[in-house]
């Protein structure tokens, strides 16, 4: 056997060795399967609850369409609806909005906006030439039923249907903004849950490693900074795998159900850019929190200690999340700017912005700022990690007073 073929490992090469080991170990572990399945449970529960809720809503409160025609036509339409209801399920109720005098003008779009009856759409015109006005998805949905009712009301044969003219309403700017807030909130919640989950996992991973004494072997062979970086980026890579799998599963579920993302309000920057930004902000949020958690993990020796030590950070992160959620509702305000500038709330604030504002240049700035903060925090985290995990590096009296005691106790002289 010849002497070692390789030379001294650079910090990055050593980090790669650690990351590769962690990545492969996690990927082929049973816990990774649970990690992958984890988000499916809330989805499943949510889906079931949603399904039951929808069924209950359907049973309790049938959909209502408004009708604004002449008195005769209204009578014909409601009678036709009543007769068809005996043979067909799921026909919408028809609610009289206005009886029109001959020649009287009526603006169904205005009635839709002003309506307090919570109508799905409004039928105008006549049974021979009905007009259905309402939001795009709803008029498409009720078109068939209105054709049936109108054909019955007009006394046409069973094979002849009048053509329903669709009056598609696009939402107002305020409506669009309201819808996008939902997308923004969803983005924030997903980002927050994922970062907390993964940062927690990297923390447990480190504590386990300290427990089985491997950390000493690593510390003797490679710089502690490399161990820190390796662990941090291995979990990031694992999370990308998780995101890809979840993304594919969601796409399969949506396409299997014959739906796209049409029912979710589209973000202002568009879906492709939104997804790309979500991945970037997730990665940055994870690196920020993960480096903080790793520094904490270097202090702890047991899972119990981890829970105690990570609690304040988790609480602070929760506050950051709430702050970002609040700041989101005040676009352009000082609160939103503060949300962007504070590193730990920045990714959440920016993903909300991506849902609400089409401009892309603020994201370039936001990402640059977060990359800078990540670099700073990773460096600081690695330094603390190195100092605490094996109690390394000369410590001045003052520094030891603040940082040294716990680690010193953990590193009792043994020989």
């Amino acid at each position: 056997m010849s002497r070692t073929q390789g030379g001294r490992l650079s910090t990055l090469a050593a980090a790669y060795v650690v990351a590769r080991r962690d990545f492969v170990a996690i990927l082929f572990s049973r816990s990774f399967i649970f990690f992958l399945l984890g988000p499916l449970f809330p989805l499943l529960v949510g889906g079931l609850a949603g399904g039951i809720g929808a069924r209950v809503q359907q049973n309790v409160e049938p959909a209502k369409l408004g009708i604004a025609m002449s008195e005769f036509d209204i009578l014909a339409m409601t009678r036709a609806r009543h007769e068809l209801a005996g043979r067909l399920d799921g026909l919408p109720d028809l609610v009289e909005v206005k009886r029109l005098e001959p020649g009287e003008a009526f603006d169904p779009a205005a009635a839709m906006r002003d309506s307090r009856a919570n109508l799905g759409a409004i039928v105008t015109g006549s049974p021979q030439a009905p007009v259905l006005t309402g939001p795009v998805d709803r008029v498409e949905h009720w078109k068939g039923e209105i054709e049936l009712i109108a054909a019955e009301a007009a006394g046409l044969g069973p094979k002849t249907y009048p053509t329903v003219t669709l009056g598609k309403l696009t939402g107002s700017k305020a409506d669009t903004n309201r819808s996008r807030v939902i997308t923004a909130q969803m983005g924030q919640v997903v980002l927050f849950l994922l970062t907390m989950l993964l940062a927690g996992m990297v923390l447990s991973n480190l504590v386990e490693e300290k427990g089985n004494k491997i950390i000493e072997v690593l510390a003797a062979a490679i710089p502690m900074d490399a161990v820190f970086l390796g662990k941090l980026f291995a979990m990031l890579a694992v999370s990308w795998v998780g995101l890809s799998v979840w993304g594919l599963m969601l796409a399969a579920i949506f396409s299997g159900a014959g739906q796209g993302l049409g029912s979710v309000p589209a973000p202002a920057v568009g879906w492709p850019a939104f997804f790309a930004l979500a991945v970037a902000y997730f990665s940055l949020a994870y690196l920020l929190l993960g480096s903080l958690f790793l520094a904490i993990g270097s202090l702890a020796t047991t899972v119990r200690e981890v829970q105690t030590l990570s609690m304040p950070v988790s609480m602070l992160q929760l506050l950051n999340f709430f702050f970002a959620s609040w700041a989101m509702s005040k676009p352009g305000s000082a609160a939103e700017i503060a949300g962007v500038v504070i590193p730990f709330s920045s990714p959440f604030t920016m993903i909300a912005r991506a849902a609400q504002d089409p401009a892309l240049w603020p994201h370039a700035l936001g990402i640059a700022w977060q990359v800078f903060c990540v670099a700073l925090l990773v460096r600081l985290g690695a330094k603390l990690f190195r100092r605490w995990v094996m109690k390394s590096g000369p410590a001045g009296v003052r520094k030891r007073r603040w940082f040294g005691r716990r680690a010193d106790r953990a590193m009792q002289p043994v020989g």
Binding site: G6, V217, P413
Partner: protein, 335 residues
């Protein structure tokens, strides 16, 4: 106490091994290493010079500062004061690829297969993973563990896992091997194997430094030892030099109880009937023999025994340290 960066250290350029007073290249040189933990001084000024290619023992009871010293030498922790130079480098991590380290508390990833664990330990020292896997399998075969190649560490016995880690320590063929209490937890058979392996490494020019609290191992294996007690090193040098700290012990049995020959017996000699026990006088054996013969002592038996390392340890480190050493968990010793 010497501060970091102060005082000369033997040797030339940083990357070259320094030389000791005898002109021998040194694998490790340490001067005035100090480490404190929470106000407690674990190591209080350790000096070491480990010649290249030697087997060097760090001998002391538990808690003496052996592990802390080794950790400082390896760069796992940095000294609060003092200088260290390992294979010619001030920063041990710069020569990590040339060092192998077996810590006292063994640690491997339980889910890894045996050959993968060896390859991983090699990759941490710069050995390409594929080459590490190849060597790992070969080493396991060579050491009679071929059947365990594909077994996970968690499926191995503690002793087997220790052997796997030992092989992982050596897989990259290091120039310097550091073992912390390597015999701990091994049965007599495996202790013997390890002793043989250490001798084999030294024969190939590898420097081996190990800590132990079992004097017999150090006495059998080491060219040089450092005796460490209370965080200090009262002696460091050749094993023979340590023994020479104590004069050879003379056991003399005579027929005659009294006579002119008694003048040759040291005043502090101990008498047990016709048996005399005393340290060999500074003048040596010949004047003593002449006096005994000419004084008609009637020598029945005479033996001169060189002091053992244990006696030397007692003399150097003191009775308290020796008692602590004896009170440490007894170890099986291999022959």
């Amino acid at each position: 106490m010497m501060k970091l960066g102060e005082g000369p250290i033997a040797g030339n350029a940083q990357a070259e091994s320094p030389l000791d007073g005898l002109g021998r290249p040194l694998a490790i040189e340490a001067r005035g290493l100090v480490k404190r933990f929470d106000g407690f001084t674990a190591v209080g000024g350790v000096d070491l010079s480990v010649p290249e290619g030697s087997i060097y023992g760090v001998l002391g009871p538990n808690g003496a500062g052996k592990t802390t010293t080794l950790r400082m030498l390896l760069g796992i922790i940095d000294p609060d004061e003092g200088l260290r130079r390992v294979l010619g480098h001030d920063r041990p991590h710069e020569v990590a690829h040339a060092i192998g380290y077996l810590p006292e508390e063994r640690g491997l990833y339980p889910a890894m297969k045996a050959y993968e664990a060896i390859a991983f330990l090699g990759s941490l020292r710069g050995l390409p993973l594929a080459e590490g896997r190849r060597r790992g399998k070969a080493l396991l075969e060579e050491h009679g563990l071929g059947y365990a190649i594909d077994r996970q560490i968690r499926q191995l016995s503690k002793g087997m896992a220790q052997q796997v880690q030992l092989l992982g320590t050596l897989v990259h063929d290091p120039r310097l091997v550091v073992f912390d209490e390597p015999f701990s937890g091994l049965d007599a058979l495996n202790q013997g194997k390890l002793e043989k392996m250490i001798r084999g490494l030294a024969a190939r020019g590898t420097t081996v430094i190990f800590s132990t609290h079992v004097i017999a191992h150090a006495e059998r294996l080491c060219d040089e030892v450092a005796i460490i007690a209370g965080g200090k090193v009262p002696f460091a040098g050749k094993v023979d030099a340590a023994r020479d700290r104590i004069r050879p012990q003379v056991r003399l049995e005579t027929r005659s109880q009294d006579g002119p020959w008694r003048a040759a017996i040291p005043a502090d000699a101990r008498r047990e009937g016709s048996l005399w026990l005393f340290s060999l006088p500074d003048s040596g054996i010949e004047p003593l023999l002449r006096a005994l013969i000419e004084g008609e002592a009637g020598i029945q038996s005479l033996s001169i025994e060189r002091a053992g390392l244990h006696d030397a340890f007692v003399a150097i480190a003191g009775e308290a340290a020796a008692r602590a050493l004896d009170e440490d968990k007894p170890e099986e010793t291999a022959r």
